[in-house]
């Protein structure tokens, strides 16, 4: 029980700190078509695609909290959006327990799209001004495509972070 509780958290926090720092220093400073690519979100959806909906939701919650703590958003807002993103990406496990890289990428795309679109919606709901404007039409697909591309690379990190071991299929011996 103890390893289940503390194991993922011990890995999640330092990996999250590094990912957040990369996001702040590298990706925030180099937008693509004025859109800041979301490295932390890519890690969240990769963790979801690698570990399932519940693990994805927890990874999204913890990494989102770190994101909130470093920025100007109310604590819990990004955690909520990223939790939804991780959960959506994790639904790939309802199809197959060990998804192929392309299938994981497709779910990562949808997870990231839902997560990125959820931010302005959550901002509006919580009384922040929010940006539910036409800009989302450009921001969401670019961020989602980046996360889908990064998913196969980040999935091993996501699995390790969440303490998931990849299933090894063995042929049945007679």
């Amino acid at each position: 029980m103890r390893t289940v509780v503390f194991g993922p958290l011990i890995r999640l926090v330092p990996v999250g700190l590094i990912a957040l720092s990369i996001q702040r220093v590298v990706f925030a400073a180099h937008p693509v078509h004025d859109v800041k690519l979301q490295f932390v979100l890519a890690l969240v959806v990769a963790a979801g695609a690698g570990g399932g909906a519940d693990r994805g939701a927890v990874a999204g919650f913890v990494l989102g909290l770190l994101y909130d703590a470093s920025g100007n958003t109310p604590l819990g807002l990004m955690a909520l959006a990223y939790g939804v993103a991780g959960m959506t990406a994790g639904y790939v496990h309802t199809f197959t327990p060990d998804p192929q890289w392309w299938l994981a990428s497709i779910f990562a795309f949808f997870g990231a799209a839902v997560g990125e679109a959820a931010i302005p919606v959550a901002e509006v709901i919580t009384g922040e001004s929010g940006w539910v404007t036409r800009d989302i039409a450009l921001t969401v697909p670019i961020v989602a495509a980046f996360c889908a591309l990064m998913c196969p690379l980040l999935m091993p990190v996501g699995r390790w972070m969440m303490g998931v071991r990849r299933k090894k299929w063995k042929a049945m011996l007679e």
Binding site: R24, D34, V58, S70, P74, G130
Partner: protein, 346 residues
């Protein structure tokens, strides 16, 4: 923990915890504020390490990809610098006169407040916040609500303060709004008013044309006795004519609001007819000040670049382009002006 719980319970727990945290943070919780401060300190060395790794790679890449542009950009900047030197001398003398007038009239302005120089150390990682992080905090006397400027004009205001860092909400963020004023002379600008223009008090602008006062002094004769020779020198000055031109300045007050990165700001006037009448493209917009103002009076914000008349309404949409180049912020100054906390809350 989550393995022992069902999927639905995990999700419910996540959502409820988020809601609780958002509510606590929105209401203002000292524990959360302290936790943010601690987290900022923890993140600082990680950011520094990431910068140390990424910066050389970034510089090599820029060196290769932008080599040709650097030279032409340098030449253009040199030309611009020469041009600005001329403007600077003119502006300095205008500022001195302005300060003198403020002193004489006992008016408050931005010049009576100290500033703290700061460097921008980070941008918002999100696509939905327009903020930057600066390297000064509560230890340097920075507080929430203080205005931040760069050499060109208002950049934003402080929204979160940590001991050695602060977060600045940029003026382009939709959450940002500030009381602003438009100062213009009747002949300024390019757009002609569609109808007879009036000021707030209803006086037609055509009646407020410049007044020229001409004063002619009689010729004077001065006699100066020199001590060593005992002779006296007499010099006479011809009749002196001084011309003073008093320009009628139209002042309109309104609220300026951001619309997102790289988008012009929107100005809404207290008197909705103002935008259609007296305000013109090219007019200068600066902070209005006042007891409930978020910034002292006179900090330049930008220039009116477009006025869109709205059909079926007396008001118009006034677009203001900020003076400050928000994409390339490096050094800024925090004006140590503590605004009314009620105004900050708004």
């Amino acid at each position: 923990m989550f393995l022992s719980l069902s999927r639905r319970r995990v999700l419910l727990l996540v959502v409820l915890t988020c809601m609780l945290l958002i509510t606590l943070d929105k209401r203002g919780n000292p524990v959360i504020d302290r936790a943010r401060g601690v987290f900022a300190r923890v993140l600082q060395p990680v950011d520094t390490a990431t910068k140390a790794i990424s910066l050389p790679i970034e510089r090599v890449w820029y060196g290769i990809s932008n080599y040709d542009n650097v030279q032409s950009e340098r030449d253009a900047l040199r030309d611009q610098l020469e041009h600005m030197k001329g403007n600077d001398v003119e502006a300095r003398s205008a500022i001195l006169e302005y300060r003198e007038l403020l002193k004489v009239n006992q008016l408050a302005s931005k010049f009576q407040y100290d500033t703290v120089a700061a460097q921008v150390v980070g941008e918002s990682p999100s696509n939905f916040q327009n903020t930057v992080e600066i390297n000064v905090g509560s230890r340097q006397g920075v507080a929430v609500g203080m205005p931040v400027t760069d050499g060109a004009g208002l950049v934003g205001r402080i929204t979160k303060v940590f001991p050695t860092r602060s977060i600045v909400l940029l003026i382009t963020d939709p959450e940002f709004s500030i009381s602003a004023q438009v100062l213009s002379t009747p002949d300024e600008g390019t757009a002609a008013p569609p109808t007879e223009s009036t000021t707030l008090s209803g006086i037609p602008i055509s009646d407020l044309t410049s007044t020229t006062t001409t004063t002619t002094l009689p010729p004077t004769t001065t006699t100066v006795a020199t001590a060593d020779t005992g002779q006296s020198t007499t010099s006479s000055t011809p009749a002196n004519t001084t011309t003073t031109t008093l320009l009628a300045v139209v002042r309109e007050t309104g609220t300026l609001q951001g619309q997102g990165a790289d988008k012009p700001l929107w100005l809404r006037f207290v008197d909705t007819t103002s935008s259609v009448t007296s305000v013109k493209v090219g007019a200068i917009v600066d902070t209005a000040g006042g007891n409930n103002g978020l910034a002292p009076q006179g900090i330049p914000i930008g220039v009116i670049t477009n006025i869109e008349r709205q059909t079926g309404s007396s008001s118009a949409l006034v677009e203001v382009t900020p003076n400050a180049s928000l994409r390339r912020l490096n050094f800024v100054a925090v004006v140590l002006y503590v605004p009314n906390q009620d105004a900050v809350g708004k």
